[in-house]
């Protein structure tokens, strides 16, 4: 019978692999869903589109979703997305020139660090790392630099350090242009939930079956991606939407995907948001998580 069409706002990065797997392998169709993806390069419109009803699910980061929810937009996380590593080496790290001697937050005092966007999760954990490693997060300047330009910025001495993600991180380190100074995510909180799928409360209330079917099919994609990571078929799927070349793909660290988010694991992010003034009052992570993403 008829498939229900849902639109999903995604970002073409490796974090959304399970979704792409579920589409390619037909898991959504089996569940009676037709998934249209709307990739946005920066992710700036994904959440407004969700709030306006233009899309039904949006892949975004925990900080942005929490910000929207705290402003009354009714966002709920329905499915898990990506997590950081449980130990170094991670998929994201703070780098500096190899001879710069920056190893801790204290070394960054008075210096400039590049983040892709202010007031997001990268910025949040950069601050947290500086404070956690003996520095003071107020003592340095955070410059917004798009990821693709961060290596140039570090090499050109326009910033002293950069919070870089893959594939740029791997590329920069393997070329010897930069050296790692620290792993903010895994040093502060291993296996941190970063990316996740959100829907609005209203949509969830009106379409509980569709949401359940979506998450179920997505979770199949998670299983498949975890089982087949590194295979040729996996590589083909990833390359088809990220446009990463085989050699870049080969150099990537592959982290496991999970189907549930533990409120305890998310709460520290909320607390950091409060600490660094992104939130004006306490925000409970469990308020953000819908049943479908919680352990049963």
């Amino acid at each position: 019978d008829e498939l229900t069409t849902v639109r999903v706002s995604t970002i073409p990065i490796i974090d959304t692999a399970p979704l792409q797997v579920a589409i390619t392998k037909g898991f959504f169709e089996e569940a009676g869903l037709k998934v249209d993806t709307t990739p946005t390069a920066g992710g700036a419109v994904g959440l407004p589109a969700l709030a306006s009803g233009a899309v039904q699910f949006t892949f975004s980061n925990s900080v942005s979703i929490a910000l929207g929810a705290s402003q009354g937009l009714g966002f709920k996380v329905v499915a898990a997305g990506s997590f950081t590593a449980d130990a170094a080496p991670d998929i994201a790290g703070i780098v500096a020139k190899p001879d710069a001697g920056i190893k801790t937050g204290a070394d960054l005092a008075g210096k400039t660090v590049a983040v892709n966007t202010r007031n997001n999760i990268i910025w949040l954990y950069a601050k947290a790392w500086v404070d956690a490693t003996g520095g003071s997060s107020d003592d340095l300047t955070y410059l917004e630099v798009p990821f693709p330009q961060m290596l140039d910025a570090v090499k050109g001495d326009q910033v002293d350090a950069a919070f870089l993600v893959d594939p740029f991180l791997t590329a920069g380190i393997s070329a010897g242009d930069v050296a790692i100074s620290g792993w903010p995510y895994s040093e502060i909180q291993p296996s941190l939930p970063v990316g996740m799928y959100a829907a609005t409360e209203q949509y969830i209330a009106e379409n509980p079956e569709t949401v359940a079917a979506f998450v179920e099919a997505y979770n199949k994609g998670v299983d498949w991606a975890n089982e087949n990571a590194g295979t040729d078929e996996w590589a083909e799927i990833i390359a088809s939407y990220t446009r990463l070349t085989p050699d870049r793909l080969a150099g990537l660290k592959i982290l496991p995907y999970y189907k549930v988010i533990d409120p305890e694991a998310l709460q520290p992010t909320m607390d950091l948001m409060l600490k660094y003034d992104l939130l004006s009052s306490e925000f409970s992570a469990s308020d953000l998580l819908h049943d479908t993403v919680l352990a049963k």
């Binding site: 402003q71 009354g72 007031n119 917004e144 326009q158």
Partner: protein, 260 residues
Amino acid sequence: MLKRAAPLAGIGAGIAIPIALLAALEVAVGMGAVNRALVPAPSAVWTELVAIISRGKLWAPLGDTLSLMFTAYICASVLAVIVGVIMGRSRAAYNLLEPLVEVIRPLPKPALLPPLILFLGIGNEMKLVIVGLAVFFPVLINTIQGVRGVDPVLVDMARTFGYGPGRIATRIVLPAALPFIFTGLRISLGLGLILVVVAEMLAGTGGIGYLIVDMQRSFRVTSMYAWLFILAALGFALNFAFEWLERRLLFWSRQQEKGG
């Protein structure tokens, strides 16, 4: 004959139209017809605006934005007028520069960001160049077109009085093309402001654009619209000043319009 409606009626309508639109929006938001979390009520934006101003939070970002805007705007438009006059008067210069101009002109500034960051860094130079590029081309295009339309009799007149190319450019071509140049300048004024905001969004450390994007990302839409309103008011005020200047400098073209 065009009816010369009383200026007051026009000005009245000019004030009434935006107010009516805002009132309609207020009602729509009040009735819940639009998502309040994405489009706030104008009254809420107004309250926020008053708060921003009364807490003195307006001046620093405004200063940042204006100084970037003016530096880029003035440098780029002066350059554009000079290049435009040269390209409009000299076929050789036109042939030399036209392909380059037309190749760079349609490139989106964000696409130019990688080389700009690579070569200019992330500081003020880059922002100036981004804004400057946006300002430069409309002035250039209009200047060239205006220069082409200068009455050849005027140029010939100056030539017979022994004026050389340089003095003809400044004494005849420039004033005669001024209506065109001013139109280009007006277009660039709006574009310049837009690009100031974009530049601040890309690599901001202050300014109105930086705040707009901050507010947008944290879903503080009321504040965001308050700052957008400030930006719009800034554009409006600059345009107003601009028209005043234009009336002073171009009265001769306007007087002809009256007929006699």
